[in-house]
Amino acid sequence: MLAVIGYGALLISFIISLYAIFAAIYGELKKQSRWVDSARRAMLLTFPVITVSAISMIILLVSGNYEVAYVAKVTSDSMPAYLKITAFWGGQAGSLLFWSWLMSAFASLVMLRKWDRDREFLPWVIVVTMVTLAFFLSLSVFFENPFVRTWWTASGPMVKQVFQPAGGLMYVPGQGSGLNPLLRHWGMVIHPPMLYLGFVSFVIPFAFAIASLITKRSDDRWIKITRRWTLWAWLFLSMGLILGGRWAYDVLGWGGYWAWDPVEVAALLPWLAGTPFLHSVMIQEKRGMMKHWNMFLIILTYGMMVLGTFLTRSGAVTSVHSFSQSQIGPYFLVFTLISVAGSLFLLFYRWSSLKAETKMKSWLSREGLFLINNFLFLIILFISFWLSVLYPILSEIFANARVSIGPELFEKLTGPFWLSILILMGIAPMSAWRASTAKSLGRNIWKPAAASLPILILLPIFGVTNIPGILTFWSVLFVIFVTIYEFYRGTKAKVRTSRMNAFSAFNQLVSRNRRRYGGYIIHIGAVLISLGIIGLEAFQSQTQATLSLGEEMALGEYTARFDDLNIYYTVDGTNMQVAEATLTVVKDGKVVDFIVPRVDYYLESGQPMTIPGVRSTMEDDFYAILVDWEEISTNSATFKIYHNPLVNWLWIGSIVFILGTFVAAWPTKEESGY
């Protein structure tokens, strides 16, 4: 019954979204606001209706209704309730429904804002968001229905459909297959929803941009309305990427966090388009410039978002992350092409109405440097897209050769651009809007630059010879000094003008200019992340050895002694065989930790999960993986150990980064009307 209710609600919400599109267009064309109001109410209605469908799915998952094929595929009796809920987005059909649910929630939130000042945007915002929602709902309704049940037919073969076929008998498996063990991790519980939230919330600025183009508005109203939406979207996307990295580090057992896998890149692409957009909109707000460019960037971000979703679900690229290949691929591709081509056509059609109100005065002005920042991000985007998506497809079509490109080439080709962005992060905040000369910029920048330069000499003296590593350390220090200097200058000026104490002055400085100082905090987070990245990429070392009990293996300053190996079956219902080793970690002759690398073997699905033993400090991680072991005697085992310098700064930087985005996105009193 619940499956029928869930599917019925899904079908109704699809019809409602189609109606909202029709009513909004009709009302706008006929200038009848009651139709537009009706479309608005219809859009608001999609959320509660899809919620019925989503709750039905959650109840089916938690209660183990295995006659529903999706439930049987992603859950099993041994899974705890919270994992059964997260299995909602653990498979193709469920995640599409989840995507639509989030999309409808965001669409409803937009509809709840005050529209009095921007009434002309309303019908077109409804059309764009509802077209996107209707597309995703259509995938669930027609191709990847999460509510289909399994039936024995009278003629013999099994069929999967919602309603009982004539003479059919319901097939209820005694047990489900269970969620992929790799997905049973806190990072993976939160990672997909964060990515989806990032994706769906980027639809909102895109919808306003298209509405602005259709209504021939040439001002920056659409940017002002969606400023916070964009920041939240960017935050969710960033968190999704970070959590994905953390999951990989904790679960995949290869000592790293990012492998430039095509699907990882698919999630990165919207971020690489959205980040320059976040910077570029400031130019339009401040200087009335770059109107075409901002439109292009938000269209690109939307396009990359849909493309990313397509790549994950179509089987077009090979990846460990992909959902199984399904028939929705071609529809996704057509939707992506139509939506991007249509948006670009509209942009070119309105090209002449988007003229800049002012012109750029200097390459070194803030807007000039932002433009260079945009260029660097887009080059990285292009290289990533080319290497992970386009080239493998072209190679297969034209050269009949399948290729997989490893991280080394990505890092070689994109590394210089990442470093340039880092350095620019130190220069741009010191440059002024409108006019900035080399002399004025140099006067602002010389102090933090001079303070950071000694590291270029000190590091080689202390034996660091890796050039990209040295340059990254220098730029990290440079950006930190610039940012601290900016906070210092602002606080000092505030103290002088208002005569308050330094703490209050600092507090007021940040709270009254959240966007600016939130941005600086984000920069600090970004450079700390860079520190973690370069630590791992440039200075990681590893070794592998087979040890008998009591034997040791060394890596750098560390020694690991193999003390114990336990092999047992779990009795808590998780149905696993666990192999768990104990290693004593010795550093400089002293015992510093005991770590327990393990392998959980899920008997239901026959899949292993490698969980590293990690000794984690601010300086480095000592990361051990149990590779193999002697089953019977448990006297010997093979370990792979990694020394990951500075990697914790990646996670610390991520927290700072998120905090900075919160500061920047939190509305001020003046903005509360948006």
């Binding site: 707000e285 401040k286 460990v320 002012t358 005065k361 290289i383 490109i405 002024a432």
Partner: protein, 161 residues
Amino acid sequence: MKKFQIISIFIIIAVSLIAVGNVLAQEPVPTPSADEVNSIAGNMFCPVCENIPLDVCGTEACEMWREEIADLLILGFSEDEIYEYFYERHGDMVLATPPLKGFNWLMYIIPGVAMIIGTVFLFRYLKNTTKQTAAEEIEEKPSEIKDPYLDKLEEELKKRN
């Protein structure tokens, strides 16, 4: 006949002794360490396990490939010869960095071309727009974000410089 038999036995013993001598005289070939194997396997993918580097993949197929790498090292293959060996048998898919051959040139050329085109466009745009601005001395558009505090702060900072 007897003479022939004696000579034959003598030859066999002599050849055997030479062969044994040769074997004993050879340097023992060391078994490659797991690290040596992994440093090569880390630059390869197994076609069965999509996008998982060969050095960390736990499947039986990948284990066999790692053993094959170890065998090739024992036979005296260099790192490049091992890549070539797998490339010839399994194609581009096995190498994390596909070789610069034929169609693969595009993989390297296109990013370079894109970067050059992008750089030319960017600098032409910046050059043209700043040149025009200098000539026109255009009227500044006042900032649309009215923040008197920010203006005051900027003013104060300017004074201090």
